[in-house]
Symmetry: C2
Subunit: 391 residues, 2 copies
């Protein structure tokens, strides 16, 4: 195991009706003037925003609101949020939504008290301070509720890039699984895929003898395998929703990823797809991961055989481990398709003729040197082949 530090100080409030405590927690964590940041109309129509606003009023906390966050959140709205926060003297950002809303909130939190352009943080500058952020989570997917990460897309060039820092970790996150019951099935499935991607990206490691984190990752994958189909079959299965929601947090707060190298090539390859086609990140990952895994499988066949046996219930072929490894990848792919995820470029809305452009932005965009690295280092030729496997 490699040396590491681990820090996950977010206060989690989990369960039914917990969104009505948002005001109490904002107060406890020092907020006096809040920006409630949210996405589309569903938060309004469902009454969720009203309940959150009521909880702030009850504590005598002032607030302004800014909706309109879209999946793959854009820098334009972040600039708008920063301006609003400065004008209104906001001292606390409350995200009410999924990963996109939380990521946009984190960007606003860092940008509001920064003299330069907030995009600096998404070009490599460390985030040292930010307004405190709290969240009321409505989608189990991104894990942003317990992570120091944020991903934003810059309209100019459609660069999708990440920033990270403890200053933008949520101070508290309210997780009510019942809020996820009204999601369309496609979004639920995309969220499940995203969570499983966070697990696979950590599973694909070059660090040896990391049994504890291997086992924890497998535990969470097994949970998703069990609960995914149950929640697609019955969107109102609260218990399945609850298991998925906690798994989504633990999958990404790094409890199961410490002390080991990680991959993240699938995320990078996918980011260009959701940036260009504006598809759901999880849907893009469903098409990307099987292709990437097949392409890199021979780098460590036994690792792929392990997850095949331990998670997907494959019988180990001791004479031909590569058969088992491939069987596990196919089982994962079939699982994602069974949830309703797309299986290729066409179903995703992507176009084969765009591959050169995708590879260019992926491998050369934003100062990259022609390769992306993770479990395996991939060059432009590799990435071209991987995108072609997805057609």
């Amino acid at each position: 195991m490699e040396n590491f530090t681990f820090y996950s100080p977010t206060f989690f409030v989990f369960g039914k009706d917990t969104e009505t405590q948002a005001g109490e927690y904002v107060k406890q964590f020092g907020g006096t003037k809040v920006l409630i940041h949210y996405g589309g109309q569903s938060a309004k129509k469902s009454g969720l925003l009203d309940r959150v606003e009521d909880s702030l009023k009850k504590e005598g906390i002032e607030y302004v609101t800014l909706g309109g966050v879209k999946p793959n959140p854009r820098s334009g709205l972040v600039y708008e949020g920063i301006e609003l926060c400065r004008k209104e003297g906001v001292d606390f950002i409350l995200a009410v939504g999924g990963g996109s809303v939380i990521d946009s909130s984190k960007a606003i939190a860092a940008g509001t008290i920064y003299d330069g352009d907030f995009w600096d943080f998404y070009s490599g500058k460390p985030i040292e301070k930010a307004l405190p952020v709290g969240t009321v989570l409505t989608i189990a997917a991104a894990g942003s509720e317990g992570s120091p990460d944020s991903v934003i897309t810059k309209e100019e060039g459609m660069f999708k890039r990440g920033a990270s820092g403890n200053a933008i970790r949520p101070r508290f996150s309210i997780l009510n699984p019942a809020l996820t019951e009204t999601l369309p099935p496609h979004q639920t499935a995309a969220g499940i895929t995203d969570i499983m991607a966070h697990l696979y990206e950590r599973y694909l490691t070059n660090t040896k003898e990391v049994e504890v984190t291997d086992r924890l990752i497998e535990a969470l994958l097994l949970t998703m395998k069990h609960e995914g189909p149950r929640v697609i079959a019955d969107p109102h299965n609260y218990e399945a929703r609850a298991n998925i929601m906690w798994a989504g947090m633990v999958a990404h707060n790094n409890t199961c990823g410490v002390g080991r190298s990680q991959d993240w090539n699938s995320h990078n390859i996918e980011h260009e797809l959701s940036a260009l086609y504006d598809c759901a990140h999880g849907a893009g990952l469903a098409v990307t991961m099987p292709a990437v895994f097949k392409y890199v499988m021979n780098h460590d066949v036994m690792r792929f055989a392990k997850v095949a046996v331990r998670v997907w219930g494959c019988q180990m072929d001791f004479d031909h481990p590569e058969v088992t490894a491939l069987e596990g990848i196919e089982a994962f792919r079939s699982f994602l398709i069974s949830l309703g995820m797309p299986k290729n470029f066409e179903e995703l809305g992507a176009k084969e003729e765009d591959i050169p452009k995708l590879v260019e932005v992926l491998c050369r965009g934003d100062g990259r040197d022609g390769t992306i690295s993770g479990f395996v280092t991939l060059n432009e030729e590799d990435c071209t082949k991987i995108y072609q496997m997805m057609v």
Copy 2:
């Protein structure tokens, strides 16, 4: 899943040579005058104390030291520590040792700035404030490095009781697996047993449909099953030590125990043994758990069958699940014995004739009403039978 809150803000520093960073972290978390609290001579002889002291000196931080913490830490030394801290104006407690040293440090931290008798906290008074505590962990076992808990034994009456509160959670914990390599095999095995007990106490739940936490617990049990024998066979297996050490933290910071009822009857039943005979807590648990599990098995046979199949590799007997359930308990018992743990009262140094006294203190001591409750509520007759099964 039940509603819950989860909070684990400790900053973990994990890996080789990390104890030399103790001074930096004390400084970062605001300490200016430190009590270094430790156990016996091994911390001195091994050079560990010197390295920690050097790291404090390097940061210009003053300190006093207080050694002598024994397993099953006593209130006497806590009173001594409180007096010393008040006299010296200590503002930070640095525990260098295992669970006993950390628990004693937490008690001193709470007691130093409390007007009354610190034992109030161990009789049910909530801990609201305490001096900050940091740890340099030397035994993977108690999980106290990431928990809000402390257990202290009061000499008068030999009551062993716990206290809990976020104020006594370590601000930082330094975990260097190499520091555990010099432990005697019995202590290593007792630590492994304690970690597995923390997992079983959470596994034995009456809450239904908690797949995510079931799977996480099983993952950590599987890790211990794999790494336990490796570390007993080769005490210098750093990787196995590392996997066990992280498992020990995750097992007890409650990531895998949230939203479900828990048991803790085995801990309560064992506490009377280590209080009376001063045996290692883990050794006491090794004798206690199989007896308790057999006694309560019929309360939920399928739960015991599940852990038997998923962790102990038993084949499910679908016609007689109770056969599988029992097989899993026996497999666990055999595993503990194979690590060198005692299997009965005699090997533990306990005496059959003391059973009435053990039951009296357990069920009536400190204001209890004749029962203890957890997975199953047990009365004096139940507890008598359980102790008799251990003879």
